[in-house]
Symmetry: C2
Subunit: 380 residues, 2 copies
């Protein structure tokens, strides 16, 4: 296996981009990555997108985006694993270069959620859950998170304020981040005064609708100077339906993917300087922290509330705001996380910089933890 | 790179399976492949499906099907490249085993098209074309094929009867095939008397709506006795919109993928004993024969009409009926082709057997030739 490095990254701000189509956003991110890498000579393209069949009535984004980039002839395809699509596509792209089958691979994610029919985003999100056993009931994905959230508070005697801290921390970190959708602070009080999205989850605990694209150019490590090396990637799945799980407060896929990725990289928890976790709501962020192995089960919310994830702490987490404040353009989100970890390791994180970051981990979840992709990057 | 072999295959009949869901069909094909291979110890699952977001309101089929098979924890994801999804997923699965990153990979495709809302299949097919430049006009995919079909007849002075021969041959070959959707002969006269789907394409020149699943289990070649070896796979893309192509009668992606796959395998055209091409309509079958390099441009229809693709000919093509007569369950179709080539090489093709078949090629197209996957298999 060849070692693989990130030769360039690109992203668009997460916004309601009313004047850009998904091809525009994809091209913007891709061209930035080409520019950084000093090459556009890709031989494969992995596109991650979740909802385009519903939101844009568009499939076949691999061939489409290859054409948009003028890269006709190359291998191109779309990878989909719900909101983990970006992390999973990265895994496939790394495999392509590591194996020697490709020499220069672009992995790009895009989602365009703002100018669509009412209800279609909620509907697309529900499609990450089982239509025959769960989604047909009409429950939303946030509704399912609410069951987890309430159960968590009750079992571990956790207060709403403690879980809410995850979103408050994300907003703190997003301040000054040019690509964040909501780069301003919110208070716990304001969050708890916001309307209920699905009791006990408040609107300000949920990631929201946003458009964006992120891209990473991968090359063999020996061809990239001063690069960021891919230490490991892993993708794991868990029991699909919440009703089938022995414990709905544990995401087995996160545990499995983290164990595999850390084992393969030789990196230990204590080595991680910067962490990006999948907080599509506050509670999934908290549980991810725990199942990744950084905090004991049931202690995650208190850990965040006490400052454990702050930029100056031992475990700076969601350093550009996370899904909540940077934004969550579904199929692109996993790649935003990876780009952000790369920026930290390069020292290019501007006001979001974590001093001396050398090793980072990004965790992307599909559905309610039924797929998890974990990526470990380190200074090359 | 390790050599990779097909350790087991499985498929369901292509039918209107009103009493089976897509998970039922997927499981049936997968369990057959496990049974043949004598193992179900997979460490990765690639699922190909095209239309499930629209047809079943279901995304995230990787995690879902891993769970259906009881394979929680494994790496699982969905690959989508319109109707080439099956061939492209196979390419990814082969890469996973060839690289040594996985040791036992199931690639399974599924599509469930019969019990859906009216118009949704046509609508899903149109999503393989560009929504902003082409599909928004309301043109169907068959409508676009009709432009190609008429232009082909006019430029090369070809008669409707000659193009029709492609479908007639497919039906001849499907006779006796237990998994074919339409295992009976049709005549050129009957075809030309059938209603126009999109002038000059008759209904009996089009592949139709069908449900099915096909699966292939891949392992390192040295661990498979008497297996079928994967000689090579290649995926290429072409100009996305017909309006952007210098010649709409040439599918560049097919030329490129064929050149790469043949080059990588060391197999030449003359070595191919059995061929499966993507005939979603008669004309795409004809053009595929040409762009794969087996017949001169403009001569494909006559070649078929004169018997060039018959079972006893030098180039037995679509030996179980092809998309037209075996059926075309979109995301699974590319895997049906690969399973069929494997059955031929193993000598397990029953009444469809091509005597002495040792090397075969399968070609799967997404959109109107904007993606092409080519797979070459040979006796192991």
């Amino acid at each position: 296996m060849r070692r693989v490095a990130v030769a360039g990254v690109g992203l668009t701000p997460v916004r309601e981009h009313w004047e850009s189509s998904h091809r525009d956003l994809f091209a913007e991110a891709a061209l930035k990555a080409f520019d950084e890498a000093g090459t556009d000579e890709i031989d494969a393209l992995y596109v991650s997108s979740m909802g385009s069949a519903i939101l844009q009535r568009q499939l076949h984004l691999g061939a489409m985006m290859a054409d948009v980039l003028g890269k006709r002839g190359i291998t191109a395809l779309r990878v989909e694993a719900a909101s983990a699509s970006g992390g999973v596509a990265f895994h496939e792209g790394v495999k392509a270069v590591a194996s020697g089958l490709n020499d220069c691979v672009l992995v790009g994610g895009v989602e365009k959620m703002s100018d669509v029919l009412p209800g279609e985003v909620t509907s697309s999100l529900a499609m990450s859950e089982d239509q025959e056993y769960t989604a047909y009931t009409g429950v939303t994905k946030t509704g399912l998170s609410a069951i987890i959230h309430r159960h968590y508070m009750e079992r571990f005697g956790v207060e709403a304020e403690e879980v809410a801290a995850f979103a408050v921390r994300g907003h703190e970190h997003a301040v000054g981040c040019p690509h964040a959708q909501y780069p301003f602070k919110i208070s716990v009080e304001r969050l708890l005064a916001s309307p209920m999205e699905a009791d006990p989850i408040h609107v300000l605990e949920c990631s929201s609708i946003g458009d964006g694209a992120a891209a990473v150019l991968l090359r063999p490590a020996e061809e990239v100077e001063d690069g960021v090396e891919v230490a490991s990637t892993a993708v794991a799945t868990g029991i699909y339906n919440l009703t089938g799980r022995p414990d709905i407060l544990t995401f087995d896929s996160v545990r499995e993917a983290a164990a595999r990725a850390l084992d393969a990289s030789g990196v230990s928890h204590g080595d991680i300087d910067v962490l990006e976790v999948h907080d599509d709501t506050t509670i999934t962020g908290v549980i991810s922290l725990e199942d990744l192995g950084f905090v004991e089960k049931g202690k995650g919310a208190a850990y965040v509330a006490e400052g454990g994830t702050a930029r100056g702490s031992e475990l700076p987490t969601n350093t550009f705001g996370g899904l909540k404040a940077r934004g969550n353009p579904l199929g692109a989100t996993g790649l935003y996380q990876i780009v952000e970890v790369a920026l930290q390791i390069r020292g290019d994180a501007g006001p979001c910089q974590v001093d001396g970051a050398e090793v980072g981990l990004a965790q992307s979840a599909g559905g309610l933890g039924s797929t998890c992709a974990v990526t470990v990057l380190r200074r090359g």
